[in-house]
Amino acid sequence: MTELCPISTTPARLALKILGDDDLRRVHAAALALLGAEGAAAEKAARLAPDTVVLGGRVYEHHTVLGARHCWLGTGGPAPRVRPREGGDPRPATAADLDEACRLADALPEVAVVHGPPVRAAGETLLADLARCFAATSKHVQLTTLRSADEARAVLRMAVAVAGSEVELRGRPPVSLCAGADALGAASVFARAGLPVGIVAAPNGRAAAAGGDPADLPVDLGAALVRHHAGVLAACAAIQATVPRAPFFYVADPALAGLAAGSPAAAMFQIAATQLAAHIGLPVSAVGMTTGSHEPDWQACTQNAFAALSSMAAGADLTAGAGTLGGGSVFSAQQLVMDSEIYSWNARIVAGVMVDDESIALDVIKQVDIGGNFLGQRHTRKHMKDVWRPRLLDRGMWDAWVACGREGAYEKASALVDEHLAEHRVLPLGDEVTAKLARIVAEAGL
């Protein structure tokens, strides 16, 4: 049976800041200065770009709106290798792995955007991978490796086939592009058709190798921000010059700024970049959960928890990168479930504390009185389901945990992966659309 899980998202009430107002203006001004004569035009273009961007799903329940003060989760990718579900060392990814990864992302309510795609199947073209993505999820697909204008035109035809028409494509674009400077040509094709793009025009030389030594990285964070911000402004200007008011989002990807994945500097960068995006009125896609750890372990969780919290608490609209290890080089199904749990924690945190008469519950406190118990109160029954509930945590007694074989988060995630992949059915594309996609892939020959 087909299941359509609505995406789980939360309004973001908190706004963590790392730059004061003066510092924010100073970084922005330095970026404009770096752009020289084009600076003023770039700023104007950014301010004229739409402040909300729709990332459409195949169905209404899977639409994502960036710029609406909600935080959403995206997968990472594309990873060339996959950590087998049953364990063992990573191996080259196959088309079946891509199907599984997309289907799992489709089943997880926390995942809003299939970013990447999550894995790059060995021997397959980008278009063939995209066709598999469209079949394996009805959620939005955000491409990160699209580069040529020819490929972009083929993707556009595929997107029209999925959306139904060019008009519907503009209303609920099923695909978008998030990339560096070398994708500007492809981005222009997308922008003309109304497909959202997020580009950093000048990635500023050395991007950090995944897991690289931070001592190899360049200079101060302030300087990295200036260069990155200038790159986004330049790209935005180029796109807006092609198509005024084209949907454009700010990419806050530490890797594109040359920062080590999962480092404190990466977390700080995301907070600051999100502030800079807000300063010029652009929605933000943060690529944060890119742990350098090789296993879904303590280190992976620490890195991704900080990455997700810093971007979400700062107000980033999308936090992508879930499900990858080794700096984005390996996809792990268990890691995707575990990262979804991290997102869920953070979504509850950024929702903040509601303060009103109902939540203060003065009458209830008085009624319960000193030494009493709130468990039997109507107010408790009414609100107890608001309490966040984990899927992967063990909160039982030590002896019970030992008796159950010391099962941890990884084992619980494995069980959830197996359950989802056994039971979840994706909304079918339909034979006609499937055939169209196959034809476009074959004709493109890319």
Binding site: D23, A30, A202, I360, I370
Partner: protein
Amino acid sequence: MTTRINPIAPRLKWDVLNPSELERIHEATLEIVEDVGIRFPSDRALTVLEQNGCEVDRATQVAKLPRALVMEAVAKAPREYLLAGRDPAADMLIDGKHCYLSNDGSGVFVFDHKTGEKRPSTKQDAATSARFVDALPNISFYWGPVVTSQDVPPATKALHDAEAVFTNTSKHFQTVTTVGEKPARYVVEMAAAIAGGLDKLRERPILSFMQCAVDPLGHDGPNLEANLVAAEHGLASGFMPMPLAAGTGPATLAGNLVVQNAEALSGVVLLQLAFPGSPCFFAGAPSVIDLKTGGYTGGSPEDYLLAAASTQLAHFYGIPMAMGTMATGAKEPGWQAAIDDSLSTFASVMSSADMMNGAGLLNGSKILSYPHMVMETEIYSIVQKVAGGIEVSDETLALDVIKKVGPNGTYLAEKHTRAHMKEIWRPNVWDRTPYDTWLREGRKGALHKATAIADDILANYRPEPLPEDVVKDLRAIVARADKELAGA
């Protein structure tokens, strides 16, 4: 002067409550302490409150605190004070600008990382844990003990704990197991023996006290009396409410904050009425009920929101906050511990909690693991770096360098890079090697590295010893207490 501790001076600020929300919770708190009151099951405490104009019911042991009196008392509390180390290089100035991490406390088991099994803790474990904490610069003070002495008479456990701690760390000691007036006086006597007398202890307080409250809206008698002894001698003290939303507090977070605030505030009012100007602090470890078991969650997103909001409330009154931080519910230092510890530390630091308690225990503050404590200090250092913020100046913006290097150049050879590269954070236990290297070196992850660091400290670290005559004095005080309180 060199310092042996490494507090965080956060430049980032994260307000969970806005000013009008803070005001609403404050007003609701005043209504509760004035109309419902708080239970103070101690004649000494009730007398103090009665003499200062509170309406006291001796039968129920409930005191109603007029709002004007509350605010008047709170205003007497010092905004800034010293928590001294025996070694001045471990002094902590509680000034609202620094966050100091302690270990966690009151555990009852030790996890043997060589066998994977746990065992009940002993006085020797309290001593070893103090020596271990003394070695870690990211842990500024010793709270607890981490694990209690369970092989000594229960009536004098706190004194044996204190003896083990005082002789194995020269950092500040905040006791959480000293309850009742007599044990408190003995512990103060021990601290005075080290400091060189009660007056010297008042000048350089190497000891402070923390007690739990009894939720909802009550205190424990022996806890009150112990903190009154602390305040009498100018030692800092505070009360730690732990209301459990949906159990001992309302299911909604704002209501839970009211209960917690009423308890912490009422404790401070008592201390200030009894000994005006005595150093005091709010404390808290608020949480929500685990709906599956009815128990303590040991980490949830609500906990961190409550922690940040409680800290804002303490600072609203100008009172320092000691916030329950880390203290994961996980059974081992793995994924679950990582998320608990990372997010809770982030919340405490971003809200500028003055003291954070603390590192080292698993399973809801029950089981001590030394490698786990080392891993938690790594989390602390990450948060420290992020909380330090981004400096924006001509030097850090480096516009000239960016222009010189150009779009596809490298910064590696630049003088500016050499001047600043050492500011980049470097991990102690994270692994950043490429996959093949990691494989070749035996898949050594954070736990492996942390275990090696822990083993090295346990084998080799020696704290600054107490003078032998002071050690003898402490032993004599404990023996006297054993005789009087435990009949030993």
